[in-house]
Symmetry: C2
Subunit: 362 residues, 2 copies
DNA sequence: ATGAAAGCGCTAACAC
DNA sequence: GTGTTAGCGCTTTCAT
């Protein structure tokens, strides 16, 4: 039993006694040759076990890979657990599907700085989802001579972007709390930089955050509460590296342990807020009577929990990113798409108790 | 302003006055040249804007794409909605990540027969998830000279497979219902073939089903209930093309409208079962007193609903498929991995009411 | 440690 | 309608 070298377009042509062009045409331009000849070519191909033009060779020649690369902040498997990331992914998939493009998920380990996967990906462009401004993978992507679209963060000079107005969105939420009368608030936020800092984040860390979305939201909160006469330096901000309900719960615990007087917990994601909700329950704090809690994103579980939050259209974001990347027409000028958000007033926010109520009951 | 042709490895070599080999080595085999020279190469690359070796050209040369193709039954976007498919995806992603391989999702439209995306995908192998035996995309995959692993269905001679023992799994469930005393049952199943048939599926259609998993489950139910003295020809089986809770609800409605006497609804997926549950509620049928309902898969929502079902390890399936494909070692003999399943007895199954109870209440 | 030569398998001008 | 020519950009023996 011998190992036959696999047939190639050239060997097929030789076998048939025609040129390689003809064989190529048989596959790619049926109208360029007689149906009869084409039939013969395909027939012989079958006989020889020729599987059709090699996609990689074709890509090299045509300079088209037929796929879009997707780079996520986290391990791939994380993305499949986070509802927001998932909706984004679905949107991207929708766009790819519509254009008949493959979706190449780039394997990334945020702990290690191995960017070879970015260099190895045979794709026509990249979508980068929500990474820190100093992410080495992002740098690797930008070094490649293919179009790129960044979703959410960071904003990069000359690179297309789709996102929301984070400042305006959370300012609306802040305004709501301020109007309700909250002056002693605490904040639970996501990772601010690539290093793990599970604990309080002082102003300096807030200001130098590498995750622009978190940074923008904190800055907007700062502005809003400062304008309402609150000294931002006194507002506790607790940061968590991992994005999970457990993180939200522990962050809430950490904050409440040290600042028993806060009347509202502003969380920069619904996941964190749901965790905070759980912690509040554990402590027998009534929400919203004893404590208001707000989230961000508008995921299904948040809605179910009646969370006061900001809804952002994640699926549309994904689709917009995909469309932007695939839309070869008016590429050139850097483009930016800002999607609308909507304040959702749920049942987890209300007026704070007065000092009296605090001591003598509602 | 002029468009400079992008730098290539060759142009870089020319600029430096060294051979292409040396430049290549600078990237791929740092130990093959002096640190000093390497530094100079990389430095010049930066200056010229050379992004490093082109991944496609490299793939052509090395015959390695560094990515795994994934072919799903449904639209890509569907996969991000179905919890079972999602868990599978996550498992595959985990395996890919571990091996530093990209995950290339092949865009497929099950309605159209466009298999070009399969031919265009630059991948080192394919994972095919749960497709009908006559799926043209599957045929396209098998025609390509790369290793393939099929998950669930269909079983293909000589192709690696990972799955569960569908017959045994559902037989266990059937046995449970039989033991409880159910003799008048109905079945809700998923798509049996590529054509849309939203309605009753007669025995002939069951027998000629192209989705082997559904076929096997129906056959096992047939066997179990026949052995219990039930005439399978009289058991209504309702099929749905779309896999959604809405489908489950409408299928349940269709079945119950025509067969008011069934005491149990066996669904071949949790999604369908959750829909059936909703329809039962709508009809003010108490579950399980008036009607037992069972599912299949063991998704989180099913557990939450207390569904009696069969749990299968979807994440492990994905991981196993990935590992099998990536494990180049003992390829050769076709391999088959069968994962264990577990019967979950929830609160949606109980003894059927007796005829008396039916008329006079519990 | 570095270079020369030989393709990987294919497609796109352009000629006939 | 079919063939000729010329690479796409890279890696890899094998010499030196």
């Amino acid at each position: 039993m011998h190992v036959r070298r696999p047939a190639t377009l050239a060997s097929l042509a030789a076998e048939l006694g025609v040129s390689r062009t003809t064989v190529s045409n048989a596959y790619n331009r049926p109208d360029q040759l007689s149906p009869e000849l084409r039939r013969r070519v395909l027939e012989t191909a079958r006989r020889l076990g020729y599987p059709g033009p090699d996609p990689v060779a074709r890509s090299l020649r045509t300079r088209k890979a037929g796929a879009v690369g997707l780079l996520l902040t986290e391990n791939l498997s994380y993305a499949f657990r986070d509802p927001a990331a998932l909706a984004f992914l679905e949107g991207v998939a929708l766009a790819c599907e519509g254009a008949g493009q493959g979706l190449h998920l780039v394997p990334v380990n945020p702990e290690r700085e191995d960017i070879t996967a970015v260099h190895r990906a045979g794709v026509d462009g990249f979508i980068v989802y929500s990474v820190p401004d100093d992410d080495p993978h992002l740098a690797a992507v930008l070094s490649r001579p293919v179009p790129t679209v960044v979703c959410d963060q960071p904003r990069v000079e000359g690179v297309d972007r789709v996102g929301i107005d984070d400042r305006a969105a959370i300012a609306q939420l802040a305004q709501r709390l301020i109007t309700l009368g909250h002056r002693k608030v605490g904040v639970l936020c996501m990772r601010l930089a690539r290093d793990r800092n599970d604990g309080f984040a002082a102003i300096d860390r807030q200001r130098t955050a590498h995750f622009h979305v978190q940074k923008a939201r904190l800055a907007a909160l700062n502005e809003a509460f400062s304008a309402a006469g609150v000294d931002w330096a006194g507002v506790p901000v607790v940061e968590r590296f991992d994005h999970s309900q457990a993180s939200g719960a522990s962050a809430a615990a950490q904050l409440l342990d040290k600042h028993r007087d806060v009347t509202a917990l502003i969380c920069t994601s619904d996941i964190l807020a749901l965790g905070a909700l759980a912690e509040a329950k554990r402590r027998a704090l009534r929400v919203p009577q004893d404590l208001s809690i707000t989230g961000f994103d508008g995921i299904a579980d948040a809605e179910r929990a009646g969370l006061t939050t900001v809804r952002q259209p994640m699926l549309d974001k994904g689709r917009a990113a995909g469309t932007l990347l695939l839309d070869t027409v008016d590429r050139g000028r850097p483009r930016e798409i800002t999607l609308p958000t909507e304040l959702i007033v749920g049942s987890t926010s209300a007026q704070p108790r007065t000092a009296e109520e605090r001591w003598f009951g509602p």
